[in-house]
């Protein structure tokens, strides 16, 4: 591969006290790729996702985004912890969507979308508002812009959360089980927005249980269990013809 991978993980380890949640993750995500991570709960997939934007610190191994080491500077063969300001700087190009939406309840929908570009990057309000309106239009919620999150359905809230992340114009989007907290009939509207985003060439890493979405939209898929990647490959191959016993057992339960 000639292009710099968007995300490159080499033997990434993470432990909480004695519990080793990630036990050597090795993977590469190419630019514009939709990379799907599946696996049982407790397999470390969310933790890995949170390592990518340094919400969790990597304890061993190397993890880089767009060729840049996450959370550390490398100087003279030694790693130096990044200052908070520099970590925040790195996060600005990585959007994240959470299982529980985490919209700011004291702000209206449009204020949610405008918050980070104004506070973090100091962009002009008019410019940001313009962009926010376009993004809300894209997720089909421009009529809800003056509402508060509590007045929206779960699916609508999650679409606002996606617009909020996109407002920072990220080069990479992380989705942490974006549809797991939704009523079944609301899942589709969120997946539609994600599909559209994938079509536009956004690099996406998606932790999900939506196998249909993985098969249809995913370019690559890994199955994680017990803090390791058990199986990786084309989603259509892995999902229809799993090689590993643990993958087979997991898929037989969720499909």
């Amino acid at each position: 591969m000639t292009a710099t991978p968007m995300v490159k993980a080499e033997l990434v380890h993470k432990w909480f006290g004695r519990l080793e949640v990630l036990q050597g993750i090795d993977l590469e995500v190419a630019p514009k790729e939709v990379f799907v991570i599946v696996g049982p709960s407790g397999s470390g997939k969310s933790t890995f996702l949170r390592c990518i934007n340094h919400l969790e610190k990597v304890d061993a191994g190397r993890l880089s985004v767009d060729g840049q080491l996450v959370g550390y500077h490398e100087r003279g063969g030694k790693l130096h912890e990044m200052r908070e300001k520099d970590v925040a700087e790195q996060r600005r190009s990585i959007g994240m969507v959470f299982q529980r939406f985490n919209l700011f309840p004291h702000m209206t929908v449009i204020e949610n979308v405008m918050e980070a570009p104004i506070t973090v990057r100091g962009e002009a309000k008019a410019v940001v508002r313009d962009r926010a309106l376009k993004l809300l239009d894209r997720v089909g919620l421009s009529d809800k812009r003056e509402n508060y999150p509590a007045q929206l359905s779960g699916g609508q809230q999650q679409r606002v959360a996606i617009a909020r992340a996109l407002a920072m114009q990220p080069k990479l989007m992380l989705f942490d089980e974006p549809t797991s907290a939704l009523d079944p009939e609301l899942v589709g509207e969120v997946l539609d927005v994600m599909r559209q985003l994938a079509d536009e060439g956004m690099t996406m890493i998606v932790v999900t249980h939506e196998m249909g979405f993985a098969r249809e939209v995913g370019d690559a898929l890994v199955f994680m269990d017990g803090g390791v990647v058990v199986e990786a490959g084309d989603p259509r191959d892995v999902l229809t013809n799993p090689q590993h016993a643990r993958t087979k057992a997991f898929l037989s339960k969720v499909l």
Partner: protein, 308 residues
Amino acid sequence: MTSDITAQGRPEAIRAVPVRRPGRWIAVAGVAVVAAMLLNMFLTQPNFNWSEQGKYAFNASVLEGIRTTLWLTAAAMAIGLALGVIIAIMRLSTNPIVSGAAWLYVWIFRGTPVLVQLLFWANIGALLPTIGIGVPFGPEFLTYKTFDLVPSVMAALLGLGLNEGAYMSEIVRAGILSVDEGQGEAATALGLTQMQTLRRIVLPQAMRVIVPPFGNETISMLKTTSLVAYVPFYELLFNVQNIYTRTYQVMPMLIMASLWYLFMSSILTVGQYYIERHYAKGATRNLPPTPVQKLRRVLSNLSGRRLA
């Protein structure tokens, strides 16, 4: 099936005989008797001396005392809030020295009576005749007489403000802890720094939990300022005491002062309601009604019932 129900239409509304509640009537009668007795006492007991109260209610020194009480309350609460936010953030720090220092502060200032603290600051000169800035155990660059640095107004502000800071820090801490962890995470993931997250995301949401006890503390402070009379500093109670040592009308003057305190705390209560309503934005689907809206709803309900 469904067409059957629509054809029949909605059945007539139930008009049941209401349950009798004799206990309520007995309670109402009891309250009415006690109220009549109190009213009788207020009107016929000459020792209340209402005319004397009226004579001094808007006396210059009483009004001066009220002004002092009000700004002292505001200043002490401002100091308390500023200190409270700082101490609360220190308390939540992961650095054990920083959080330990905050804990110690709360332990001392919450664990001793505020009157003792006020007297302590008023008499600090007896403990430290001079206060200087310099190297610990080394030379001093600047030296002041404590009496010049801490006049009674300073003692009053220090006593009330530092004490309030301790209580306030616990209120602010509870408010910060009440905000969902995901909020901080979402802000962090968007690239906000810790300070930005605190100021823009966490504190505004914590306000909802902070405002009711803050209002409580403000009303409490309004009354606690009367302790400053013993510093001594001329607030409402101090000036009223001055009047009754001259006129010997102790009870009428104390009742008059109480009525003033009651009036001021009532106004604060109304203010608190509107501040709470402001910070409820986004937390509830519909804002709670203002008192005016409530009254209008009650009136329209009454007239509606009469029509029905």
